[in-house]
Symmetry: C2
Subunit: 337 residues, 2 copies
């Protein structure tokens, strides 16, 4: 059986281009015992993938040249030579960007598409939701009445962080890059205030106006100058969970900015980089709360779905242009599940 | 009774100068019930005092113009109108820079000069030792076999941090500003390696050579370019207790440098500013360990003592020129106690 895959053709310098990706046809081997044949349904597209396109040591190994991209994928079982899965089961795993692929049964997990749409397992019930929960609740430690600022507020993680902060009784201020996103966050997701950093003349001042009691938690998805402006308003004993730095991922040189340590020192601020995969012990607790909040209607989720396996590279570019609201995914099929 | 005091004559721009200090004669009022008359013996001189010379909100309020400096002082009771202290008792407290002063009994604590030299209560048995212990042990969380780098290694706090790290079984690398200090740290205080940043051509590379397994804890007393160089070598899950930023205290503009967040994020690093006075609950534990280690001979202490009340401003300048090894104090008398 033949299928198509997307491989890393070359490493990008700065923003990725089409030339960094190559579509290839490959021949799949026969299934052997313990394996399943999978058809990809939904492919997750995430900012951290940009880092994996570099040949640099990081918390996940880099993609290899001429090897397929990998990431979170929801798939349907087409054929099975194992005891755990049967044909038509829905599964998820960290899988190659192939239209059809073979996986060992140990690499995949079942999902129940009757509880929530299958794609949610890439988002609010997957890495996205876990990241938001663990970063905000376990590193940020929100208390009722505190002010939480979240950058990249309309992104997959940001939109969940803001809603969890509201559940904890916090004032939530989002920072995003369009008036449309700002409206959605205020009107549909309960953010108390949202700042469009692209149309704000003096971001530092505007943050101050929107956070009259200062900032107790800054959930940072973006880094760069937006973070510089927020950090000027941090309170004593405030916390900064560092989740992403999308503003800097395409930089070709070490970015410079105001030194943080004097502020962190004089205000006893905690800054903690975190990677969700190191907090597996908290996954059951997090999943239980996230599911419960979804069931109660306190946690809503939104996706930007792009159709067609061919669109995977473009969808990844789109993240850096801020084209998504909520989780960005690519659907291999035309209809939702 | 008249005495002399040192007041803040003007706020410095950059490095403080003599013109920022003024000596004055004042008349002391009569003692009233609950008060003691004190003669200053040892005056603590600390880097954080530079921040208090600015009119800026920080973790301790700024010194006021035309008001005396205050800081840690060891004093002897000359006269007492309270039940807690009698003449000739040794006490300590946060007191004004006056040769003789009046304090309420609630502002001072007794010290026992038979256990350790009285001046140690400004240092290893005072704020200095507590700062080193709490920052290293409770924020850094050292484990045997880890590598600890300490900047400002020959300073009051650094010299204690290095020795505690050795007690915990760590490899200790100090960074300091003279070969003489480097020799002292290696030969008398057990540091495994010491780097003289002033004579090192490529600090980042030299740190790498001296930390072949990377850096697990960076106890930061100085900030600036030294910290930039250390942070490039931090390991996954490493910790940075932020204790001081002496390299930046005299800056007149916001200092800039490489952005830290991408490194903190990809390596899950914790950075925590801390102020020892917020950890009072840990003081008994810390004092117990510090005293025990001194008694066992595992923790040695050194002081740079400058004689004469007149020398207080010069001693403070001296901190920024790196003139001290260990704790810098000014003795009002010519003989040690």
């Amino acid at each position: 059986m033949t299928t198509r895959q997307i491989v890393l053709a070359s490493r990008p310098v700065g923003l990725p281009t089409k030339e960094n990706f190559r579509f290839e046809h490959i021949e799949l081997p026969e299934l052997i015992e313990g394996q399943v044949l999978l058809k990809g349904i939904y492919y997750s597209v995430d900012p951290y993938m940009r880092g994996r396109m570099n040949d640099a040591k990081s918390y996940v190994p880099p993609f290899q040249l001429n090897e397929p991209f990998t990431g979170g994928v929801i798939a349907r079982v087409m054929d099975s030579k194992c005891d755990s899965f049967i044909t038509d089961d829905y599964v998820m795993g960290s899988l190659p960007w192939r239209e059809i692929c073979i996986a060992n049964e140990t690499e995949i997990h079942p999902i129940d598409a009757t509880i929530a749409p299958a794609s949610y397992y890439l988002g609010v019930l997957g890495m996205t939701g876990l990241t938001a929960y663990i970063g905000l609740v376990h590193i940020g430690k929100p208390k009722a009445g505190e002010t939480v600022v979240v950058s990249g507020a309309a992104g997959a993680v940001g939109i969940v962080v803001g809603q969890i902060a509201k559940i904890y009784g916090c004032r939530v201020v989002g920072i995003t890059g369009s008036d449309k996103k700002a409206d959605v966050l205020r009107e549909e997701y309960g953010f108390d205030a949202v700042i469009n950093y692209k149309t704000t003349a003096d971001l530092e001042k505007t943050i101050g106006e929107n956070c009259p009691d200062g900032v107790d938690i800054y959930f940072d998805n973006v880094g760069g100058e937006i973070s510089d402006a927020v950090i000027r308003h941090m309170n004593f004993h405030s916390r900064i969970p560092l989740c992403g730095q999308i503003a800097l991922y395409n930089d070709t040189a070490r970015s410079t900015g105001p030194r943080l340590q004097p502020i962190l020192l004089t205000k006893s601020i905690l800054m903690q980089g975190f990677i969700v995969s190191n907090y597996q012990r908290l996954f059951p607790e997090a999943t239980e709360h996230l599911s419960q909040w979804i069931k109660e209607g306190n946690l809503k989720f939104t996706e930007t779905v792009i159709h067609g396996f061919d669109q995977l590279p473009a969808a990844l570019f789109g993240l850096f242009g801020g084209e998504n609201i909520g989780k960005m995914i690519v659907a291999a099929t035309d209809k939702d599940i």
